[in-house]
Amino acid sequence: MTDLECRPLESSRPNPHRATASSNFEPTFRDPAGQLLLEEDCALRRVRPAAIEEALRFLNSPLRLELERDGNLIPSEILETDSLAGAGSIPQAAEGGLWLRHPRIDPISYPWEWTRAQWRAAAELTLRIAGKAISAGWMLKDSTPLNVLFSGPRPVFVDVLSFEKRDPHSTVWLAYGQFVRTFLLPLAAARYLGWPLETTLFWRDGYEPATLYRALPAWRRLHPALLDVVTMATLFEGKSGKTGKAQPRPSAADPELAAHILHKRLARLGRQIRAVAGDSAKSQWSRYEQSASHYRPADIEQKKQFVSGVLERAHSASPRPARVLDIGANTGTYSLLAADAGAEVVSLDSDSAALETLWRAASKRRKPVTTLVANIARPTPAAGWKNREQLSLLDRLAGKFDLVLMLAVVHHLLLREQVPLAHIGELCAALTRRWLVVEWVPPSDPMFQEWLRGRDHLYGHLTEHHLNQAFAPFFAGVDRCALENGRILLLFERHGREAAVHSAPGDDPA
């Protein structure tokens, strides 16, 4: 059993008091078999009439039970459509079909916010599921990273309409091309060409083999992991051209041989994914904890004690696990501290290598930590059709947290991103429901000096008082702890929503 509740497959009525749907999300429309709608507390999936028979066959299959039991597939529950139509707030309910309810994985993390290790984990999950499906007489009809979400550090396959009955004689996996374009080639491009995985935001269907072929140096085209999927595929494409007609596909007379061929293909894809995903990434910030000379052990201990005290406060105020957002989480010392204290944590950092260290630690220790590679100063935008297929980062995070940690982040926003203190306070007020911890780094600090770069007249005069003043419209100061190294930890409690709405930030950089 997984942390996502696995319910028996039986009809049940939806909650009439459920919260309204997320208004910025468009119901999905690309899959001819059905569409997905996001609610506050669940995800609703409508299966179109033509696909109901196959969907029910899969939902009642041992394969679905096995995948759910292992935590690899999102649990599903069949809803009564008449009661859904009676609710009246879902226009699609009038169109009929079969309705399924899934638990929400919150927040959604998109592939362009994953670390390289997460890409590999999602790819391996897809191949594992495809392998089990083949053995059970099924097949995945699509295979994109968008079919996978991370529940904490664990990948979960969320598209139950991806399964279709397999032709036992077919030796072709029709979604092979999509797997190569959307999993393998972006990882290869990141590894060998330095194309960031974040740019997949603009490449929903991945890279074409010819795109990589043109960009790769000649000797790299012969790499064993790329020879077939990049070089040979490009050459074949050139020879056969694009006719627009359905392509001929090979089949085997012997079903045993067909399954053998498909399993071999998955095994090769697994080896190719491992080859291009590479080892653990390293960066300037991924060893920040070990190399930070401006922190003495006593300072770190004092900081941990302060954060632990705040976590206790957040837990005592809430009957459920506290939700914590760690902005600038780095390798996750304080994210893991919060997770150890029983909180559900979302960790944000723009450094993918540092966050990968945290993801590995959270996976190993099975802690509920969701990692998002993102820059809070330039948050991930909404994407897709009408900007409503994938939600923006702030749409997914706003108002979801009991506690927000901004440890050694404010001076980055102030000096590198040139965001005034009042604007930072306003954003924090939008993210947290109650508590906020800010680590104030004074201008005398070596890290502040490193980014000041001759702009003393703008930022050199700033003190803790300026921070308090800028945050006052949104927060009240509750606690304070001065570290030996001159940095100051501040605990704020959010005012009521009215105060935040009526106080617009000013134009002063401070």
Partner: protein
């Protein structure tokens, strides 16, 4: 020997391809022309290896396999007919 090494991969592909026949591919996700061709070549290679392995296995296990086969031929299997079914010997 060199000629044999040159011909062998081609022969394997042809052998594999001869074991496969064609259907049309209609997919929800774009299968891609080049990548579909890669699958066809891969399928042919794996199929060739699969059949070769089977042939080699049967070569080395011919004597062991031949004995029970001849027994089966000499002693026809008799089964109890189900209700409503006549015996094949009737």
């Amino acid at each position: 020997m060199r000629l044999l090494l040159r011909i062998l991969p081609l022969a394997l592909i042809l052998l594999g391809a001869s074991l496969l026949f064609e259907q049309r591919a209609y997919a929800y996700a774009d299968p891609g022309t080049g990548l579909l061709a890669i699958q066809a070549v891969g399928s042919a290679l794996v199929a060739a290896g699969w059949y070769l392995r089977k042939k080699l296995y049967s070569l080395f296990h011919r004597t062991a396999a031949a004995k029970p086969e001849s027994q089966e031929l000499s002693v026809p299997e008799l089964s109890v007919p189900k209700d409503g079914e006549g015996s094949p010997l009737q």
